[in-house]
């Protein structure tokens, strides 16, 4: 039976090239968008580099002061880190890094724009960047005020040529001449809390040592000895925050420390205190509406196509097809069509992702259609095929034979 469904499907597709094209294009387009988006989410969610043990960490990057009249919100200051966070007992390591910024450097009259980030030396302990060459800066380097930086492989390729050694070479940046002491494997820019092309010791960030403001540019990573200790670490921090003096004119001080995904998604919906759940909700809604629109379209397309085939339905019924059999036939046809569109979409999106990787539009990205995405895509395809096939099929199968035959004349 299935073989016959296949046969009639291909016969129909072949004999209605316009319909086939429109349907395939619609399905392929939608699926491509979904697959590409999934690849991003997948890359974000699954890739452990450069922090394979994120569940041991809490990220502090939202300090909020509010009074009846006003509200201020920012990242953490060095003062906050040194005077308070460093006193925490639970964390076994505390590292921090600044915002992602750009600066220009000049190389034989060539201007190169680089993403840089300030960090402390512990930053290299709370991350696991792969060192390709040289070493990372240490507390000792910072104490001696050494003008050293760590760069990524992509910065090295751009500045000194592909796979050329960079250690010992110098870069003029931010009115300083820095010496490269290490090259690391870059991470995806999706992890923007950690991403940079050039990492500079925070001691060059011109921070006023007497400033007692709690707000500053840093994201602090608190690493617990194990994932189980994270709640305790959170509690200790909140206890400390409760005891911290609130600046005058202000009423309440809140400092948030969240897991990795909550932190980055919160930043993306900038300002609002929305949580991970709402982020996923938004993602799901977007995905669903992306599916729904073309599905509704396809349902329409299917209905009109099946109307054209009303006489076929009448004929099949007259010669012994039951309504159930016909529903199956049309659903199968539709699922096959969707699968064809889906396979096309997998091909197209592989191409697009390869292009994104190759062009370096998203620095450090390593997007790919892996088996997880293919699986997800096929789930979508089936859902899509059923969604857009069942209703029209059911409607058509209920056609009165006599009128279906008339309709086909």
């Amino acid at each position: 039976m299935l073989l016959n469904y296949l046969k009639i499907t291909f016969a129909v597709l072949k004999r209605h090239p316009f319909f086939t094209f429109v349907s395939l294009f619609g399905i392929c387009f939608t699926m491509t968008v979904l697959i590409v988006v999934t690849a991003f989410v997948d890359d974000l969610a699954s890739s452990g580099y450069p922090q394979p043990e994120r569940d041991r960490n809490l990220y502090v990057n939202r300090v909020k002061l509010s009074s009846d009249q006003s509200q201020m919100m920012s990242n953490a200051s060095l003062y906050l880190i040194r005077h308070y966070l460093d006193q925490l007992k639970t964390p076994d390591k505390i590292g921090f890094s600044g915002l992602m910024n750009t600066a220009d450097t000049y190389l034989d009259d060539r201007k190169v724009r680089l993403y840089y980030k300030y960090s402390d030396a512990n930053f290299w302990d709370v991350t696991r960047f792969k060192v390709l060459e040289g070493r990372l800066y240490t507390n000792e380097d910072l104490r001696r005020n050494e003008k050293v930086i760590v760069i990524t492989n992509s910065a090295r390729d751009e500045l000194f040529g592909k796979n050329q050694s960079a250690v010992g070479k110098t870069i003029d940046l931010l009115n300083n001449t820095f010496r490269v002491i290490g090259v690391i494997q870059e991470c995806s820019i999706v992890h923007f809390l950690l991403y940079g092309e050039v990492y500079i010791p925070y001691t060059f960030a011109h921070i006023n040592p007497t400033d007692q403001n709690l707000m500053g540019p840093f994201t602090v990573i608190l690493r617990a000895p194990s994932a189980e200790k994270v709640p305790a670490m959170h509690r200790e921090l909140q206890d400390m925050v409760g005891r911290m003096p609130v600046p005058k004119d202000m009423k309440t001080l809140t400092i948030r420390a969240d897991g990795y995904f909550e932190t980055i998604t919160r930043i993306q919906n900038s300002g609002s205190e929305s949580t991970l759940q709402t982020f996923y909700l938004i993602l799901a809604t977007v995905a669903l509406s992306f599916m729904l629109l073309p599905a509704v379209n396809l349902v329409n397309l299917n209905i009109s196509r099946m109307m054209e085939r009303a006489s076929e339905i009448g004929i099949r019924k007259a010669f012994g097809a039951s309504s159930g059999t016909l529903v199956w036939q049309f659903v199968t046809e539709n699922v096959i069509l969707t699968i064809l569109g889906g396979i096309l979409a997998i091909l197209v999106s592989s191409g697009i992702l390869a292009l994104i990787n190759g062009q370096g539009w998203i620095p450090g990205s390593d997007l790919a259609v892996n088996w997880r995405i293919v699986l997800y895509a096929f789930g979508l395809i089936l859902f899509f095929g059923l969604l857009s096939g069942v209703y029209p099929a059911w409607r058509m199968s209920r056609l009165q034979i006599a009128s279906a035959l008339k309709g086909g004349e």
């Binding site: 039976m1 016969a11 009448g314 019924k317 007259a318 012994g320």
Partner: protein, 220 residues
């Protein structure tokens, strides 16, 4: 073979009610070749559709091969049609997306018959109507007479006892019409019970019995 008792049919739409059939009583014996004539709109097609279980009567009883059929479910009706009745329509009603041989195989698709056997039976049926050389053609590549012969092959491929033909020669010129008529007569000689609606007195003459209808009722 076919027993119609007090058949009435009313078509209801939102605005009008059309009385298409009233009080029709008709009995057709096994092996009979019956023609039905009457002016346009008198209910001939409606009658044939009810006999063929393509449409439900508003009242009355339909019995075919000793089986009461008004209360069967969709699935049972489909199976009954499949095994017992072959249809031939004025406008052929072939599936345009399928080649001739697949069109003929159609009734066998809804039975458990192997693909090989289906193909053989379809070829056999096409041979009977003299079209074995057109297996791979599509309906649009055939003449009217050829299309109707394909439709006949489809009607007989499952070896039903009853063949219902609604103006099978209505779209054909007299020579091709006669060809189709000859095939029907041959089938009848082989034992098929045939009911044929026609406008052509010449065709009607060649059958065993003529049923005349007028305005939803049977007049003779």
């Amino acid at each position: 073979m076919i027993e119609l008792k007090n058949i009435g049919k009313v078509y209801r739409t939102d605005t009008i009610e059309t009385l298409a059939l009233q009080q029709v009583n008709l009995s057709i014996r096994k092996g009979e070749f019956v023609s039905v004539m009457g002016p346009s709109g008198c209910g001939k097609s409606t009658l044939l559709n009810i006999m063929g279980l393509l449409d439900m009567p508003s009242e009355g009883q339909v019995t075919i091969a000793g089986k009461r059929l008004e209360r069967l479910k969709d699935k049972e009706l489909a199976s009954f049609r499949n095994h017992n009745i072959g249809f031939i329509f004025q406008s052929y009603h072939l599936i345009p997306d399928l080649p001739v041989v697949d069109n003929v195989e159609l009734p066998l698709l809804y039975r458990s018959v192997s693909a090989k056997e289906r193909r053989e039976l379809a070829k056999e049926a096409l041979e009977k109507v003299g079209l074995s050389n057109r297996l791979r053609h599509y309906p649009s590549q055939l003449s009217g007479g050829q299309k109707q012969r394909v439709a006949i092959a489809r009607a007989i491929v499952g070896r039903p006892e009853v063949i219902l033909a609604d103006e099978p020669t209505g779209n054909l010129d007299s020579a091709m019409g006669q060809e189709v008529m000859d095939i029907l007569q041959a089938l009848n000689r082989d034992g098929s019970t045939i009911v044929m609606v026609t406008h052509d007195p010449n065709m009607a003459q060649q059958t065993h019995r003529l049923v005349r209808m007028f305005d939803g009722s049977q007049v003779s």
